[in-house]
Assembly symmetry: C2
Homo-oligomer: 133 residues x 2
């Protein structure tokens, strides 16, 4: 693990608010540039052998695949909602136990930041929940 | 829930680094004043009925009691290490699904921020793991 993970930003960039129909979501506190790093979220890795029964808990909706294991993202990493046309993407750094979130285009202040849970921003494979239009 | 949770700070205050013998920990990026709000961490509430088997996973070490339920703290809330003489305390806001962390005394830059997992900063009840001196 490469530590410390010092904050890379000079100003807070994000806030949490209610996203209609989706529960909480992550919103831009100020304008974010295309390609900009939005957040470096540490994760807790849950080994594959401990996964049993987790699909019957609320945590199932939050986990990221983490190689053969699963991970729960801290920071605001667990609160980004899904879109098939997202404005952000994420990159997993396994050795650092970190997920980085990057803007795919310019994001306006107060715009919700959305990622494609299928990882590839262009992947429109069905998900396990009903996706809002 | 009272939302949005806008960041309350002007500058980043925290970073994650390795804490010898304790894994990751949360450190002060700059001086923090006594009584100052360090972080407002959103939580994911796991209902009591979904708790079964969770004690056999790594998540057991991270959960906060949340009334009759349990909660996993996002932000850096899951990464604060324990001390019987902590320099920070936490307050749960059930309706907001948020845990606030406050400095109990002045904290220097690069000092690790520690909380008493027994909640009451003066409570020296034994914990479920070996506490480093």
């Amino acid at each position: 693990m490469t530590l410390p993970l010092r904050p890379w930003y000079d100003q807070p960039m994000l806030y949490i608010a209610e996203s209609p129909g989706r529960g909480r979501g992550v919103f831009a506190q100020r304008q974010i540039h295309s390609g900009q790093l939005i957040e470096r979220a540490p994760v807790i890795v849950v080994p594959a052998g401990q996964w049993e029964g987790m699909d019957r808990t609320v945590l199932f909706d939050y986990f990221f695949a983490w190689g053969e294991h699963s991970a729960i993202a801290l920071g605001y990493g667990s609160l980004y909602n899904h879109a098939y046309q997202p404005n952000a993407r994420f990159v997993k750094h396994f050795s650092q136990q970190v997920i980085e979130f990057y803007a795919l285009r310019a994001i306006e202040s107060d715009e919700e930041i959305l990622i494609n849970y299928n990882v590839d921003p262009g992947d429109d494979s069905p998900l396990w929940f009903h996706v809002l239009a």
